[in-house]
Subunit: 194 residues, 2 copies
């Protein structure tokens, strides 16, 4: 959404209001899950009128997509010279995201919604693809430098490295001990080769 210079726009339709509504949407989703995610609940939380919301978003799904998109913060690609260290850095950031932010709860609500709406599924697939990029860049570079075990496919390796943490947190509901990152890296990447 861009704003024409000098345009006389009411504040309720500007960038600040849009950001306020999206923040409210994430809060409602976090607290009440998809079951409580209604245009009315978000409008109330944002201190905006329902009509205002409907001017920007045709319904809860469109609002959900825009709200989830604001949670995406691209991670820089580390380059320490050692693939295990680069991967550990990215996984540590990811585990922090899982342990200390509303991200996993939002993700759970989004996954449920994506099961029932092809547009959300496409959006979620794209969001996941972007989240995978730094790890894929690290592994592809390591492969080119001959630092990966022969036969290791970088794309599959991203799955193997990241999936156990999603699984522990959202499916098994088990704690993620600090040494799990090293254990996963050792088992997936194998003995240090470079």
């Amino acid at each position: 959404m861009t704003r024409a210079a000098g345009a006389q726009r009411p504040i309720s339709r500007g960038r600040g209001a849009r950001r306020r509504v999206l923040t409210a949407a994430l809060e409602v989703l976090d607290e009440h899950g998809l079951a409580g995610f209604t245009m009315e609940a978000v409008a109330r939380r944002a201190g905006a009128g329902k009509a205002t919301l409907y001017r920007h978003w045709p319904g809860t799904n469109a609002l959900l997509v825009d709200a989830m998109d604001t949670t995406f913060v691209p991670l820089p690609v580390p380059d320490t010279g050692r693939v295990e260290t680069d991967v550990a850095e990215l996984l540590t950031g990811f585990v922090t995201l899982l342990a200390t932010t509303p991200f996993p709860r939002l993700l759970a609500a989004f996954m449920d919604a994506a099961e029932r709406d092809p547009a959300l599924r496409t959006m979620h697939a794209e969001l996941t693809r972007r989240r995978r990029e730094p790890m894929l860049a690290v592994l592809t570079r390591a492969e080119q430098r001959g630092q990966l075990r022969p036969g290791l496919d970088p794309d599959l390796t991203v799955d193997l490295l990241a999936a156990p943490f999603f699984y522990r947190r959202l499916v098994a509901h088990r704690p993620i001990p600090p040494d799990l990152i090293t254990a996963v890296i050792t088992q997936v990447l194998g003995p240090h080769t470079a």
Copy 2:
């Protein structure tokens, strides 16, 4: 729920009705997700009165737990003599469950609910623990037979083997090609050692 011999119970409170309500609950959850999972919707689908449902379950969460529990079918523990083949057999069953049944959609709804209710989280953790048992049995036996790479922890290995399939299906929304099972097993268990 047990039924006293010779008790004069109305059919609506017997085993058949209970099973019908739980089936209806799974159907409602599958079609509408958690957002549409209400006592009223389940009662309507089951052809039962709302009051009948409330006599058995205090609310949607208790009903959800019982309904999910009916989806648990314990798998037999394969013993082909080769750990890779045993694991492949279990993973093939799991991929079929993900690809051809409502299980992943139910799981997504349940994960969202579990994020917001500690009782559901405990129940989901327990259900997951039971689902892991056959794979854990296969790997523990392989370890005892010296068929696992040294240093491989059976419990972590269950995570590494199963998680990529959850992740592909529910997070990344990517297809699960037939050769993915072999690729995951090879990368996680390493070269065949027995």
